[in-house]
């Protein structure tokens, strides 16, 4: 007897008890659906983190001022402008692993266009900032070296700023006032999205560093050659650690720090932080999938339960089949195919449920979900395996029946 014939017999047997078969399948449906949905949710979270790494710019190290001790008093980070433009150029010059270095300063200011007001972040940058962050303009242009040298009053604005000040209007060529100083908008930045810590990177205006110091930012950052932070792009991801060490060494020398003194700056490899987050979310995905597969297992036990009932109910049928020539293995195959058919149909419906579930989560919870073909294949395969595993015992029980007893069974 071939598999196709067995499958046909199995489907007929399952149709006899439609409700029972449906309820038995439900366990597998929920199991497969849950695995697919949970993996989709997990993969969505992972993709989000990966995207954030991308948005930071690849291979980026950020340095900002650290704490300093002044006359025994420990000052908070950033209280003292310990980083200078010269530090940045020294790094560019002396650390060959570095591709590009971009010193910048940040503040906030009120921006006015016609009768509209918007409070936003002001970033004083040099031309290097754009390649360092892998950030481009979608219209207009970026800041040039001449504009930095000449402290030009030009601005490159982020998407959020543009939307709030100009709406649908083209911002290029318009004049905005930052702290009452007029600036010409020369560029509109591409969308960058939120940072991991929830800051909207598109809610910023980039102006030449020199202009920022003299016209917009006050305090320490206005003085001399101090800068708020330095963004560094390293040539290759594998060289990040080496670059970090060399930069730290260089800065300690330049700041004349004794071996016992702490760094007066903070050096962070943000991608690394995010990568550990990505690893965490991968573990979470696996955990979710593991929990979901428990329900697959429970579904399998449901199949076994129903198959045992079915074997008992159909003892006479088994006896008859044996009397007319079915061998033990034919009966085994029949019930095994029946169990596997249950789990495969359940698995197929479960795939549908998983697709539905993950799009429902994406729609209602507004979480990113990402369907994984591997998860679908594995969940379906696992469902089939569950059918074989839990169907085997009842099928063997059926195959082991004595035809005489089975025929007489009441």
């Amino acid at each position: 007897m071939n598999v196709l014939a067995s499958a046909r017999i199995a489907v007929r047997a399952l149709r006899v008890n439609k409700l029972r078969s449906a309820l038995t399948m439900l366990g597998i449906v929920i199991g497969v659906g849950a695995v697919i949905t949970m993996v989709a949710v997990g993969a969505g979270a992972q993709a989000r983190v990966a995207e954030q790494i991308q948005s930071l710019g690849a291979n980026v190290i950020v340095i900002w001022p650290g704490t300093v001790n002044m006359a025994g008093v420990r000052l908070g980070a950033g209280a003292q402008a310990t980083l200078s433009e010269d530090d940045a150029w020294a790094i560019q010059r002396d650390v060959p692993l570095v591709e590009v270095v971009a010193p910048y300063s940040r503040g906030t200011a009120q921006v006015v266009f016609s009768n509209l007001n918007w409070s936003t972040g002001i970033l004083g940058v040099t031309p290097e900032y754009f390649p360092a962050r892998d950030w481009e303009v979608i219209s207009g242009r970026t800041v040039t070296q001449e504009e930095v040298d000449g402290a030009s009053k030009i601005a490159v604005i982020g998407q959020t700023v543009a939307r709030n000040l100009f709406g649908e209007e083209d911002p290029i060529g318009q004049v905005i006032r930052i702290k009452k100083v007029p600036f010409i908008v020369v560029g509109l930045l591409d969308r960058k999205g939120q940072t991991t810590w929830g800051q909207d990177q598109d809610d910023q205006i980039l102006i030449p560093l020199t202009t920022a110091k003299t016209k917009v930012l006050g305090g320490n950052l206005a003085k001399g050659r101090a800068v708020g932070a330095i963004t560094i792009k390293v040539r290759e991801a594998e060289l990040m650690k080496d670059a970090e060490n060399e930069i730290r060494e260089l800065l300690r020398q330049r700041h004349r720090l004794q071996p016992h003194q702490e760094d007066d700056f903070n050096l962070r490899n943000l991608a690394e932080v995010l990568q550990s987050q990505e690893a965490a979310s991968r573990v979470l995905t696996m955990l979710l999938a593991a929990i979901a597969s428990v329900s697959l297992l429970v579904g399998g036990i449901g199949i076994m339960n129903i198959m045992l009932v079915s074997v008992t109910e159909r003892t006479r049928e088994i006896g008859l089949r044996m009397a007319v020539g079915a061998r033990g293995q034919d009966i085994l195959a029949q019930f095994l195919v029946e169990a596997v058919t249950l789990s495969l149909i359940g698995g197929a419906i479960g795939i549908g449920a998983g697709l539905l579930g993950s799009s429902a989560i994406a729609y209602f919870a507004e979480w990113r979900t990402l369907l994984q073909i591997e998860a679908i294949v594995i969940a379906f395969g696992f469902a089939a395996a569950v059918g074989v595993f839990f169907g085997f015992y009842p099928a063997r029980t059926a195959a082991g029946l004595n035809p005489i007893d089975a025929l007489r069974y009441e």
Partner: protein, 259 residues
């Protein structure tokens, strides 16, 4: 007797019931020629059912020898016995044992599923056998839609599907009313006349009289083996019985649902 279809020599079957040993069959030697119609009689516990199970290759003897069509089947394993049953023996049971919610045609095809017949041949052969028992127009009926007599005819068609050398009928009229019983016996007599060996188990002396020879069992032994002198011919009897198609069907269905 080299020509015998069935030849048993000192057939013994013991059962273990806990620590007790039950001697169900205590040495039975019998030979049945091809084309015979044999009734096996005896009260319950006489060993006739055990004898039938052994003849039907549903069970293996504890001792002794059983040759079916020249083939020694006494020491065959389960898979080989299944093959012998499939190819050489047709079974008819008291309660018909048809698969519910399955058409008459598919019920008749069932033994072919365990042979080597292709799907296309199966339907054709099943159709021919159903026609042979007079149910050509009921191919797609389910057992529940058939009367008891019709169900037993389907079961007989199923028994015949592989052109067996032996048909074993275990109380085939036990669940049927008297007129239908005669009809079924007429069918068996027709089959026998066409050369099929029939062995019939019954506890009703009336039914046994349709056979040509009777074997009587008692306490695990064959106590009587005789020719039936006043053999009944079912077809003749049927002609004298009043026809009662509809009531017969109703009665039969009641009998089935009660069983």
């Amino acid at each position: 007797m080299p020509g015998a279809l069935i030849q048993t020599e000192d057939l013994v079957k013991d059962y273990h019931l806990g620590s007790r040993r039950i001697h169900a069959l205590r040495g039975v030697s019998v030979a049945i020629e091809p084309g015979e119609f044999v009734a096996v009689m005896g009260p319950s516990g006489s060993g006739k059912s055990t004898f039938m199970n052994l003849l039907g290759c549903l069970d293996a003897p504890t001792a002794g020898r059983y040759r079916l069509g020249g083939l020694d089947v006494s020491h065959m394993d389960g898979d080989h016995l299944a093959r012998v049953r499939n190819e050489k023996i047709g079974f008819v049971f008291q309660t018909f044992n048809l698969l519910p919610r399955t058409t008459a045609l598919e019920n008749v095809e069932l033994p072919l599923l365990y042979g080597v017949t292709s799907a296309r041949d199966r339907a054709g052969r099943a159709r021919a056998k159903l026609a042979a028992v007079g149910l050509a127009d009921r191919e797609h009926h389910h057992p529940a839609q058939l009367s008891g007599g019709q169900q037993q005819r389907v079961a007989i068609a199923r028994a015949l599907i592989n052109d067996p050398v032996l048909v074993l009928a275990d109380e085939p009229t036990g669940a049927l009313d008297s007129r239908t019983s005669v009809e079924i016996m007429a069918l068996f007599q027709d089959l026998n006349r066409d050369g099929i060996t029939v062995v019939l188990v019954t506890h009703e002396a009336d039914i046994a009289r349709y056979a040509g020879r009777s074997l009587t069992f008692r306490d695990g032994r064959l106590t009587r083996d005789e020719r039936i002198a006043d053999r009944l011919v079912a077809r003749e009897l049927l002609a004298t019985l009043p026809r009662g198609d509809e009531p017969e069907d109703d009665e039969a269905e009641t009998a089935v649902s009660a069983s």
